[in-house]
């Protein structure tokens, strides 16, 4: 018998909570996957700051919290609770709503969906598309990230999207993950799976939100598989409660000539970490990630990109911007790997940070690891403040200092906001950032 350290006990406790009511008791491969993940989780144990990927981010506060799994019958959610959060008019999208980890059918709408598209909860799809799910979950890249093992050890529910070959999903798919702790601090572990077959096309807009400022822990894993010539536009918006802990692990695998366009925007959480791991395995694949984080008082946000160019002729653009105020802290760790065979790779990585206050802090670490000789790669980072002459210009036109600082900050974020797949999403997020900057301490 293994003797667990105190820290490992935390993982074990969370897991013990989560393993009740799991689907797929009859699926051996799934049981085995969960078992392996559990063993791996206990082997990896608590991340320490001696590990490079956790160097700037302590998990101590998270591990001080206790969390319970939600009861499956959580149904207190009303349409009104999400109305202010949705980006699309009902008729303009398909929508799935998950509340505390489980799908809320009443608020979801998939009528009119092309018959070549499967869209629903992973739980419900297990019985129907067992084979696709099996192969994708088993192929999910083994990670060195203990939290993704914790997720895998209790694979339960999440988004399942499968678009058949040469099918274009006619409307954007909006997925809302709402978490809300009522009496006890909850942990939810969405397990999302997105598969686009050859030549398929879709737009996916995901939002992680809450309706209050409760403490909870979202520990999600999203696997995305893009077959040859497929195209996914993916907006990812993290607007959790400012007391919540959030982890997202996004694993992307791209076949030849597939195109992945991602806009990632994070505003919420007291502590959050997002990893985007992209594996470009087919020639001609292109990946484009535009990110923005806007955080302040007592928030920490950590973005890790790991973009792997494994074959010749692939391209990627990763551009992240950060606006920090109050005592906000950000970590940006962007790595581009170009393997020996990956000639003619073109990859550009940038991270620009705007510090609105003296107490805000950012650790940014872009890295290029290049083993091929005929490539075009670049990386760059900046950390700066607002230019007093820009503020003066606006004030001399009658605009208040607070408004001027807000306008310039949003101007800084503009490029990323413009990459939102829809206008309604852009204006709503812009309004949220404005409200956040207005209520916050943004004075130097």
């Amino acid at each position: 018998m293994t003797v667990l350290s105190d820290q490992n006990k935390w993982f074990d406790r969370i897991l013990a909570q989560a393993v009740t009511d799991l689907p797929g008791a009859d699926l051996t491969w799934l049981q085995e996957k969960r078992e392996q993940a559990k063993a791996e989780m206990l082997r990896l144990g608590k991340p320490t700051r001696k590990q490079e990927v956790w160097r700037y981010t302590s998990v101590d506060n998270l591990l001080k919290q206790e969390f319970e799994s939600p009861t499956p019958d959580f149904s207190a959610l009303q349409a009104g609770d999400i109305r202010d959060q949705i980006f699309f008019a009902d008729d303009d999208c398909y929508r799935l709503v998950f509340a505390n980890g489980r799908i809320v059918t009443d608020l979801s709408r998939t009528n009119g969906l092309e018959k070549e598209v499967s869209l629903g909860s992973l739980r419900a799809s297990l019985g129907i598309e067992s084979e696709t799910i099996r192969s994708q979950i088993l192929a999910s890249s083994p990670s060195t990230h203990v939290f993704s093992e914790l997720n895998a050890a209790a694979i339960n529910d999440g988004l399942y999207l499968h678009v058949s070959a040469n099918t274009k999903v006619s409307k954007p798919i909006e997925v809302i993950y709402l978490t809300l702790s009522l009496e006890n601090q909850l942990v939810v572990q969405p397990r999302n799976l997105i598969v686009l077959d050859e030549g398929a096309e879709a737009t996916l807009v995901e939002q992680y939100i809450s309706t209050g400022d409760s403490v909870y822990f979202n520990n999600g894993v999203t696997d995305i598989k893009l077959a040859k010539d497929s195209k996914l536009t993916h907006a990812w918006f993290q607007d959790e409660s400012h007391a919540a802990y959030h982890i997202s692990n996004i694993n992307l695998v791209q076949d030849s000539n597939s195109v992945y366009r991602n806009t990632s925007i994070a505003l919420g959480g007291v502590w959050s970490r997002t990893d985007i791991n992209a594996s470009m395995k087919g020639e001609g694949a292109h990946c484009d990630i535009n990110g923005l984080y806007t955080i302040g008082e007592k928030q920490l946000i950590d973005f890790h990109l790991n973009i792997e160019h494994l074959v010749p002729n692939t391209t990627s653009e990763e551009h992240f911007k950060g606006i920090l105020y109050g005592k906000g802290r950000a970590v940006f760790d962007g790595r581009i790997l170009v393997e020996k065979d990956a000639q003619l790779t073109n990859a550009n990585l940038s991270n620009a940070n705007l510090l609105l206050t003296r107490d805000a802090e950012v650790d940014t670490k872009p890295q290029l690891e290049i083993y091929a000789d005929d490539v075009k790669c670049s990386h760059g980072t900046t950390i700066g403040q607002l230019d007093p002459d820009h503020i003066f210009y606006l004030r001399s036109r009658g605009i208040s200092e607070v408004e001027a600082r807000k306008m310039l900050s949003l101007g800084f974020a503009n490029e990323v906001l413009m990459s939102c797949p829809t206008e309604s999403m852009r204006t709503r997020i812009e309004a949220k950032i404005r409200a956040q900057l207005l209520s916050a301490n943004t004075k130097p």
Binding site: P388, D389, R395, R397, L410, G411, N414
Partner: protein, 250 residues
């Protein structure tokens, strides 16, 4: 309207304005000329409320009140406008959005109703036409990638839109082609009225062919060393500043 008495201003302990006097009455146009580095932009900036200057002496009254009591934006609300010598580029800030925010901020401060988007678009399109700009500049970010002359036109557009009571133009004519120069002059002349005033900083008498100033002043080494009517500008064009600086040193 504007009364500057013995104004002394320093930047980082270095005196720049060294006892400057200037009276501007409603309805008047004043031109200020003078050698590079003499303090013309410093004067314009201190009037508009730019940070980084220390007033070490003297006073400035605007409509009888201490100008330095007003915050930068409050001066704009009170009708002061500075067309800058070097307009800044604002990345990601849409020009239309900025122009509307500016006009509405001033209107609200004055207790007037904000213009709706529709009302504003109608107004701004008239103004754009008036200053001979292409409407596409409205869609771009403020001054971003504008040529030197385009930036100056954008300043004049703002002046035409905000209709200030006291307009300060700091070398708005520099870098303009002949047509644009005329537009600037038209803009100024159109704004000219008995209850408005203008202070125009320029190096060239050419602009003054189009805008007839009531007074011409020479600013040198932080002081106004000579004032006259428009004929002074012609004289300066001919003789330069040497004779004056010698005269004032003597």
């Amino acid at each position: 309207m504007l009364s500057i008495k013995n104004l002394q201003v320093a930047v980082e302990d270095k005196p720049i304005l060294k006892g400057l006097n200037l009276e501007v009455k409603a309805g008047e146009i004043h031109a200020i000329m003078g050698p590079n580095g003499s303090g013309k932009s410093t004067l314009a900036h201190i009037l508009a409320g730019r940070d980084g200057y220390e007033v070490t002496g003297g006073e400035v009254l605007y409509d009888g009140k201490d100008l330095f009591e007003l915050e930068t934006e409050e001066r704009a609300h009170a009708g002061i406008f500075l067309a800058m010598q070097y307009p800044v580029e604002l990345a990601g800030v849409n020009n239309t959005y900025f122009l509307k925010a500016s006009l509405n901020a001033i209107r609200v401060a004055r207790g007037e109703k904000e213009l709706t988007s529709v009302e504003f678009m109608k107004l701004i399109k008239e103004k754009v036409k008036f200053v001979g700009m292409d409407e596409k500049f409205l869609k771009r970010n403020v001054n971003a990638g504008f040529s030197g002359g385009e930036k100056k036109r954008n300043e004049i557009l703002q002046m035409a839109l905000l209709e200030p009571k006291l307009a300060l133009l700091d070398e708005t004519d520099s870098g303009l082609d002949i047509d644009a120069l005329r537009i600037v002059a038209d803009g100024v002349n159109k704004l000219r009225s008995p209850d408005r005033a203008m202070v125009i900083v320029t190096h060239y008498q050419r602009l003054l062919d189009y805008i007839e100033p009531d007074f011409v002043h020479v600013l040198s080494d932080g002081k106004i060393i000579k004032s006259g009517d428009k004929s002074l500008a012609l004289e300066l064009e001919e003789k330069g500043y040497g004779w004056l600086t010698e005269e004032s040193a003597a």
